[in-house]
């Protein structure tokens, strides 16, 4: 379902050949994946009904060759900003998942005029002391990331070889648990931001959500009940509903439109 609605493309940017999946029409929604790489979830399919979704595979992840060059998260963000420009996306909504949440924040800091709104799914930019990025066997990683692995459906488990290939890059770029430079800059970032955490997140403590709200001038925090780190796989409908509502209405999304008339 999700697979067929998206088409694959490649873009040359900053010396990398970058793969992406694209589906849907409307305002662009760029997605930057987590440390596990690009995988389309049912949430992508729900989002492409409202937006032109462009989900990138960042250099060094998934099918791309090992990335020895990128040295820092701001550098990766700059590469991705160039890729987005090459696709002629002047303004766009930006969604970052976990590791990609930090990339998305740096990209928004670098291109504040281009990013209309930010969605951070279980972002890994601000972490509890001693947080470890998921590692171990595919089965262990699966138990760590998902509250409802049964909802993974046909999505394959992480390939240990690919995981091993990306680990040096992830470790190089993830930065300290608390990145003072980034946190200073966030206080000046005007972009409307939605931060989501699953109530069962075992990778990043959901309590980290409040720090974004304290730092960012325009930030909303939403807990997704009964979801772990991979919110959009555990509860895709709940995830997509609030993301769509936020991106369409920005901060007015706090005003309910739910109808409660039972019978006219």
């Amino acid at each position: 379902m999700a697979e067929t609605a998206f088409s694959e493309g490649y873009v040359e940017a900053d010396g990398f050949r970058i793969r992406y999946m694209e589906g849907g029409r409307g305002t662009p929604l760029v997605h930057l994946h987590g440390a596990g790489g690009l995988r389309l979830t049912p949430a992508h399919d729900l989002l492409r009904r409202h937006f032109r979704v462009v989900a990138f595979e960042m250099p060094g992840f998934g099918q791309s060759p090992e990335n020895h060059r990128t040295a820092s998260m701001p550098e990766l963000a700059s590469t991705m900003a160039q890729a987005i420009k090459r696709l002629d996306l002047d303004t766009f909504n930006l969604m970052g998942t976990s590791f990609g949440g930090k990339t998305a924040l740096w990209l928004a800091l670098q291109e504040p005029e281009s990013v209309l709104a930010l969605v951070l799914e279980a972002p890994a930019a601000i972490r509890q002391a001693g947080a470890r990025s998921p590692s171990g066997s595919p089965e262990e990683i699966r138990r760590l990331l998902y509250a409802h692995p049964e909802r993974l459906g046909s999505v394959p488990l992480p390939d240990p070889a690919v995981w091993a290939k990306t680990q040096p890059l992830v470790q190089r770029l993830r930065g300290p648990d608390r990145d003072a430079d980034l946190e200073d800059r966030l206080q000046e970032l005007p972009t409307p931001t939605l931060v989501l955490f699953g109530t069962l997140d075992r990778v990043i403590a959901p309590e980290m959500g409040r720090v974004y709200r304290e730092l960012l001038p325009s930030c909303h925090l939403v807990f997704v009940y009964d979801a772990a780190h991979a919110i959009s796989t555990d509860r895709p409908e709940a995830f997509a509903e609030v993301v769509v509502d936020f991106l369409e209405r920005r901060e007015a999304f706090v005003i309910s439109r739910a109808e409660t008339v039972i019978h006219p």
């Binding site: 989501l196 109530t199 309590e207 409040r210 909303h220 939403v222 997704v224 009940y225 709940a238 999304f253």
Partner: protein, 358 residues
């Protein structure tokens, strides 16, 4: 052992009442109601004087048996009138409540009561799902989610939204917060596997009620096992056992009172509704299926003279592991209050001082 008095606001109906639940509002006697609440405070002043640690209130609807559909209101009233005793709010029924409202009311009550509050959260008895049209098959999930949201509303310092399965909010940020930190001692009430696991996961207490020591002991054992799995050990005070007690000067007298107890709940659902509820409302003790209690009388697990009851309390401590006994000293709903007052006095004089160290 800590001791709690389960206060039900005894309503003495001037005339015979219909026996079916719901009891028609039209037969309610307003003066008898006013007397029930006056009597509640007089009785609780005595309960406090006798040295009970807690007074508990619960949520039940549409009948005079327990006249507290809004336990938070009774709790607030009691907290204002009594100065020392801890108020145990062993309601509210979470699946039919607005969890954010519950979080706010409890926070306000804890602050009004200067921190003299403990809270039990629960799914509620089967008939209560008829009260506000709750689908019994959704009750368990709504309870778990509602409890989790209440805990979040108490502890999260920043405004947040909640994208739940049964509850959705875009803005939650409660004022006042609870006086006790991070929140009042909180219990998940119930014998089910789900309730015990929730309590263990969130480091809450566990409250069980009415079953035999062996039956509720299965639940508390499961609860302790789950706590150990989560890497912690509950204190005795984190297990409450609510039970009926028939106390008399002699064992014979107590047994005679037991024989006179009706075998049916005073206000039962119609048989057709009861039978349908039995199939729709699934219940368990630590994972073992049990029938929902829909119209049977609740068992009485402490019966006898003070000596006998003290031994039963000792056994209860061993089997159930409870550190708090929440007692009904006379069947709720019975009209004659004299035996209750006699039992209270006897309990205060001859039982309470002897079970402190158990």
């Amino acid at each position: 052992m800590k001791v709690s008095f389960f206060e039900t606001a005894r309503y003495s109906a001037p005339d015979a009442l219909p026996s079916e639940w719901p009891v028609p509002s039209g037969v309610y006697d307003r003066d008898a109601g006013a007397q029930a609440y006056r009597g509640m405070i007089e009785r609780l002043e005595y309960v406090e004087e006798l040295g009970f640690d807690w007074v508990s209130v619960s949520e039940h609807h549409y009948s005079p048996r327990i006249l507290t559909p809004a336990p938070i209101v009774s709790a607030a009233f009691i907290a204002a009138r009594l100065k020392k005793i801890t108020i145990a709010l062993l309601g509210p029924i979470v699946p039919q409540s607005n969890p954010v409202r519950v979080a706010e009311e409890v926070a306000m009550l804890d602050t009004l009561a200067q921190g003299r509050l403990v809270v039990g959260l629960l799914r509620g008895t089967s008939n209560e799902s008829l009260t506000y049209d709750l689908n019994p098959s959704e009750a368990r999930e709504r309870t778990d989610e509602g409890m989790e949201l209440i805990l979040k509303a108490w502890t999260e310092p920043q405004p947040f939204g909640w994208q739940g399965r049964h509850f959705q909010y875009r803005t939650v940020s409660i004022w006042p917060r609870t006086l006790q930190q991070p929140h009042p001692p909180t219990y998940a009430l119930g014998t089910s596997r789900e309730s015990c696991e929730f309590a263990a996961r969130h480091h809450l207490g566990c409250g069980v009620s009415y079953g035999s020591f062996e039956a509720v002991g299965k639940a508390t054992r499961y609860y302790r096992e789950q706590c150990a799995r989560q890497g912690w050990q509950p204190a005795p005070e984190q297990i409450i056992y609510r039970a009926n007690m028939l106390l008399a000067d002699t064992d014979e007298e107590a047994q005679e009172s037991l024989r006179k107890l009706p075998g049916q709940a005073p206000f039962a659902m119609r048989p057709g509704v009861r039978d349908a509820m039995m199939t729709l409302d699934s219940r368990n003790i630590a994972g073992e299926a049990r029938a929902p209690i829909v119209s049977g009388a609740l068992p009485t697990t402490f019966v006898g003279s003070p000596d006998t009851v003290v031994e039963q309390v000792r056994r209860c401590r061993d089997v159930v592991g409870a550190g708090v006994l929440d007692l009904s000293l006379h069947p709720p709903g019975s009209r004659d209050l004299d035996p209750l007052m006699r039992a209270l006095e006897l309990f205060g004089r001859k039982v309470l001082p002897r079970i402190r160290d158990i």
